[in-house]
């Protein structure tokens, strides 16, 4: 994962490669924790460079969604590839996330 970006009060977290128990899940959790502690309430996770999500990664995304909603914030996914969308679909989580295909659209909706 790379350093968070911030555009118009929306924090963008890039997840590159894999979001799994061994790679990325704990990092995403910590980054979200830091952003919430800093007062941020709108987080967009960019999955356009993410190739694979395992059960821990799926759990981390679901937990982040709850965490943001509980904080009165907003959470969405950006650029999920077909393989990642398929995983969200078969785990019956696809419908619970807002998913955007391009960043400008996400920013317009989440603003």
């Amino acid at each position: 994962m790379t350093e968070p970006g911030r555009v118009d009060a929306i924090v963008i977290l890039d997840v590159a490669g894999r979001l799994t128990l061994e790679e990325g899940a704990a990092t995403l959790r910590e980054q979200v924790r830091q952003q919430l502690a800093a007062g941020e309430r709108k987080i967009l996770v960019d999955l356009s460079s993410c190739d694979y999500i395992d059960s821990a990664g799926l759990g981390e995304l679901a937990t982040t969604l709850i965490r943001l909603q509980n904080a009165g914030g907003r959470f969405a996914l950006l650029g999920a590839k077909k393989r990642v969308r398929d995983l969200l679909r078969i785990s019956q989580l696809l419908g619970v996330f807002e998913i955007f295909d391009d960043e400008a659209q996400a920013q317009a909706v989440m603003k």
Partner: protein, 333 residues
Amino acid sequence: MTTRTHTLRAARPDDAGQIADLFQLVYAESSHPCKSLEFVAQTLRRRHADVWHIGAQGDRITGCMGMLPHRWNRSWEFVRGVTHPEFRGSGLATELAQRAIDDAWASDDCDLIVGFPRSRTIYRIISEMVTPGMKLTGHDGGINIAGGRREYHLVAVSFAKQKRFARVVPDSSLATTIPFVKEAILDPLDLPRTSGVYPPALITGEYPHHPDYGPFTFHYHPFCPSDSLEITAYTGPKHDPVEIAADLVRTLDSFAYARHVRMAVLADKLPFQRALQSAGFAMTAYLPAWHLQNGIRYDCVLMTRRTSAEEPADHGTRDLIDYFNAGYATCLS
């Protein structure tokens, strides 16, 4: 009020509104999905997937009882039982339960019936007032929320004598080595049994098979009030049960809002069960013949972990819950 005034019939799509209203009335602040008109309407449209039986007086629905067939292990589950408060004690629930049981046993795809009674009254109905009566095997550790409070449900199973199937009990399993399971669960059920080797699977449940999905498949909805997570399979490459249990515990860290976790573990997988026990899980029910693979049935145990501090409501079943807790505590020691 007697049951003679009720008509029993299959539910129709235009019953959805009254059914949802009935669940809203009885389960006001709960995780019950049938409070949703959309959910009820959807299930009523799914012919051959969900089976609803209705009690009615004229156009007014007075109660309902459903069966949910689980194709993956040929079990049917009692679901959606509710009686309008004005008609409780009328015998309606018993008639609906018997009708649901008869319907299940008449089907070609039902080897066993499972029920999760939430009160002593419902337990009495399905164990003593219908034929064949269901047998208790434990409790669920408190999955559901009703009236804003988590609550225990008992676990009950039923097998029909005319439904024969192959069931394997390995010599090393709990079923033959632990007196509590043998005496309290298996002897009263008198199920068919043969010796044999269990399959390598650790955990069983329903999940979509997909090469990318895993290593733990699951059922979880982030906004279900029950905050419950069911693990349905391990699909990863590891073989050491202690390592797999450790990975599971780390994976559960990612489901930080899951307050109740459950899984059906094959009965012979004692090292895995013990590793789960060390991670805070408890055995709360025995699930005879629950895993179905290549036409053969294998026993499982229900392992549950609850992280909410509040003790669930028991609706008059505390003695039964304590009985099973004490009995299963001897199984992994």
